[in-house]
């Protein structure tokens, strides 16, 4: 009897320590679009305050997997998911989950810069205002903080009322990052955030992402191998809806376990 009890306690212990160690926790996740199997039984744990890169050829499921963490796939027709995804131990596909609340915790930056057709200030203040924050001073403070964090403040501080659409592509993308940071999430999802930008803007955003690691858990989808190896701590290689390999970035890029991974990162396919 007592032996069984001990085993049970041990199990509970292991689970607790797992959740302390990991920010995001996906278990046996499969995704279907109608009959099409987009994600096949993937499990993955992601540590807090780390950068994880998702790489793989187009259509491999990496973007779909990323969008599971803020439930953006919910808008896709015939989307169906199996398995479990937990953030800080809470099941985000549970019945009690409030999707709006989840998305304040899990910010997202899209492939193409998509600022609202409003002023720079209003873009960054948007997330605060929809939360019902009315204190103008607090909003101004948080807007400034977010713009400083996104390394955009010095370029726009004199033109906060200018339309966001008048900014350059790189500035727009940093504005979108600032907009996301303003609501103080703990996780940032980035879906190819630099693919529409020139090399200089890309370098700026990479540097920014690297700095944000101090406070945020970041997942970035990228087609750029150098980008993945430069900024990420962990890299996940996806192929045809499967997670082929997931390890420290250094390991993936110098000594991958699987032949497929090696072929992809050396540019032999994909």
């Amino acid at each position: 009897m007592s032996a069984i009890m001990t085993v049970k306690t041990d199990e509970t212990k292991t689970e607790t320590s797992t959740s302390e160690k990991y920010k995001l926790h996906a278990k046996n996740v499969s995704v279907f679009y109608g009959d099409f199997l987009a994600i096949n039984n993937i499990s993955m744990n992601i540590k807090p305050k780390s950068i994880t890169a998702f790489i793989g050829p187009s259509g491999c499921g990496k973007s779909t997997f990323l969008r599971l963490f803020n439930r953006m796939n919910d808008y896709v027709d015939d989307f169906k998911m199996e398995g479990k995804i937990k953030i800080d131990d809470a099941n985000i596909y549970g019945k009690k989950t409030q999707v709006e609340e989840l998305r304040k915790e899990v910010g997202m930056v899209f492939q193409k810069p998509n600022p609202f057709p409003k002023s720079i200030f209003e873009n960054v203040a948007y997330g605060l205002k929809i939360q019902g924050i009315k204190d103008k001073e607090l909003i101004a403070q948080r807007v400034e903080k977010a713009l400083v964090q996104a390394d955009l403040w010095n370029e726009v501080k004199d033109n906060l009322n200018k339309s966001a659409l008048a900014l350059s592509g790189g500035q727009q993308q940093r504005l979108c990052i600032a907009r996301t940071l303003a609501v103080e999430p703990s996780i940032l999802l980035m879906d190819e955030p630099t693919s529409a930008l020139d090399p200089i803007s890309t370098a700026k955003i990479e540097e920014l992402i690297y700095q944000l690691k101090q406070d945020y858990t970041i997942i970035i989808v990228t087609h750029n191998m150098q980008q993945a190896s430069r900024i990420s701590d962990y890299t996940a290689f996806f192929y045809m809806g499967e997670l082929i390999e997931f390890d420290k970035t250094k390991k993936i890029f110098t000594n991958p376990e699987k032949k497929q991974t090696e072929n992809y990162i050396t540019g032999r396919f994909g």
């Binding site: 803020n70 953006m72 808008y75 027709d77 999707v99 709006e100 609340e101 989840l102 998305r103 304040k104 910010g107 997202m108 899209f110 193409k112 998509n114 600022p115 609202f116 057709p117 409003k118 948007y126 997330g127 205002k129 929809i130 939360q131 659409l165 979108c176 907009r179 996301t180 609501v183």
Partner: protein, 291 residues
Amino acid sequence: MKVKEKIIELILKLCASITIFTTIGIIAVLLFESISFFRNVSIFEFLTDTQWTPLFSEKHFGILALVSGTFLTSAIAIAVALPIGLTIAIYLNMYSPKGFRKTLKPFLEILAAIPTVVYGFFALSVVTPFLQTIYPDLETFNSLSAGIVMGIMIIPFISSLSEDALYAVPKSLKLAAFGMGSTRFQTAFKVMVPAASSGIIVSIILAISRAIGETMIVAIAAGQQAQFTLNPTIPIQTITSYIVQVSSGDAPQGSLEYKTIFAAGLTLFLFTFTLNSISFWIKKKYQEKYE
């Protein structure tokens, strides 16, 4: 072969120019007859007198009496059509399941395809008696009932054009709003409607223009008494229904009574022309901005 091509080209050109010549012709006739009218009636009297009685023995030519009737029916129509039309557009764009949109759109198109004379009859024989059960002092001919029914008629204008405007907003903005944790309501009113505002304003202006020019409903249900009033419960006359009254009556050609319809027609044309120009200007200005 070459001659044949030339002839075909000429025919096509002629067809295309018919619209231009018609427009120029109509404007010319309106101006010509109106100038002749204003030789007999001063523009000052036309614009300031509050009575319009060209068919009575004691004649007054104050267009304000007709303009007020037109304004009243159009305002009531917009007050009905704008909230309903915009709600439908937002519902279709943000809330409705995919299949429902396919069901509702044909119904809206049917609404737009009903002959206006049927609407007029409906206003007179159904809506007015119904309103009289609520407000017994309502007269048989009144602008309230005509305005409400006209509003129902122009709902499809507003909902369809506004929905097009919402649909044209880049999908990435909708996703950005959802990604920030916006509810559908917040996404609709804080992001989508502001982003589509130019198209929505254009739809409203075109609807106003349509309401001002609408003839049959007001001719049937709003009465034939030109009155300078904003009281929606009594009979009035709009510019359009006055033109119907004179055109279908026996005012001899060339008489002053006959010429009044051109002056009234010119006034109507100036209103709708101005509104259409504004909508054209808004469309152009904001389209450039988006691209």
